[in-house]
């Protein structure tokens, strides 16, 4: 035990952040040497141990920031996950589950309409329309967050990349909005397959 509890807590947090980092233990050992040496020096000049640790940790930087700095350092093609990228990975899983659920909803609604349009038509249309709206507000942003996570993980994200991602999100939202409007213009029950493109075609033919 070193008597530097705050430093030890920081090192534990950093170790967790770098769990997938190649040579992560070496990085933590190197950082430990830095933090303990700096703290010892401040204590030797009369600083209180706790205050010295706080100052040293403040100068060194947040564990997450340091982990990201290491992740952005090229590793010879090996991607390095951090806590942030792991969280975005969970977002990615949520996005994938959403798309699967939406696909299943469309399939089931379409099947129900094919079986008995008169009986299930309105219900199926409501299900598909609700799914579409949720996709607009949840599915698309989740998918973009997934792409952002992949870029961060690979350490290749630049300011232009983020601008492009935001523009792509806006474009997807716009396209979905137009398709949704077209679907609404078709009227309930006209779109037998639930496909928005079909709705546009149907809408244009009805003009």
């Amino acid at each position: 035990m070193t008597g530097h509890e705050l430093v030890e807590e920081y090192l534990a947090a950093l170790r967790q952040q770098l769990v997938w980092q190649p040579h992560g233990d070496d990085v933590v050992a190197e950082v430990a040497d830095h933090l303990h040496t700096a703290t010892d020096r401040l204590v030797a000049t009369g600083s209180d141990s706790l205050e010295a640790q706080r100052r040293v940790l403040h100068s060194f930087g947040d564990a997450e920031v340091i982990a990201i700095a290491f992740a952005r350092t090229p590793q010879g093609g090996v991607a390095v996950p951090t806590a942030a990228t792991r969280n975005l990975g969970q977002v990615g899983i949520a996005a994938a589950l959403w798309w699967l659920a939406w696909g299943a909803m469309i399939f089931l609604a379409s099947a129900a309409m094919m079986v008995d349009e008169y009986r299930f038509g309105d219900l199926a249309d409501t299900v598909m329309w609700s799914g579409f709206l949720f996709t607009l507000v949840a599915g698309a942003p989740l998918t973009h967050a997934l792409f952002a996570g992949l870029l961060i993980r690979a350490g290749t994200g630049t300011r232009n990349t983020w601008v492009l991602l935001v523009m792509a999100l806006a474009a997807v939202t716009a396209v979905f909005g137009i398709l949704g409007w077209a679907r609404g213009a078709c009227g309930a029950g006209q779109a037998r397959t639930g496909g928005c493109v079909t709705c546009i075609i149907l809408a244009s033919r009805s003009d």
Binding site: V27, E30, V31, D33, H34, F60, G61, V65, I66, A69
Partner: protein, 113 residues
């Protein structure tokens, strides 16, 4: 003057320059940068380590582990390639500095017709 902004992109040169004086561990490198810059360069200390690792992967630095006061310590040294890179970066920096000095030196503009 936003010194920290101007520092971006020159950390490699600073690290190589410090290590030209002899082998040193990360903490000593950071302290040397602070001391030589008279505390003008207040780097977020933890971000210097990824730089050291990157320079080592690029073959500009070499490192070895030792044990000091019961702790593992990594000491970095310049490689011959690192000395070469330092020379090149120094030359580039000198040219850049001279050019900036020329531009901001306060020389009157020639009169335009």
């Amino acid at each position: 003057m936003k010194v920290q902004q101007a520092l971006k992109g020159h950390v490699d040169l600073l690290v190589l320059g410090v290590l030209e004086g002899g082998p040193a561990h990360g903490y000593a490198v950071i302290e040397a940068i602070k001391e030589r810059s008279r505390s003008e360069f207040e780097l977020l200390e933890g971000t210097v380590y990824p730089v050291l690792h990157r320079l080592q992967r690029a073959g500009l630095l070499d490192s070895e582990w030792s044990e000091v006061s019961g702790r593992r310590r990594r000491t970095y040294r310049l490689t011959p390639a690192g000395r070469g890179a330092l020379g090149e970066q120094r030359t580039a920096w000198s040219r850049f500095r001279a050019a900036v000095d020329q531009v901001i030196g306060g020389t009157p503009l020639p009169s335009t017709p």
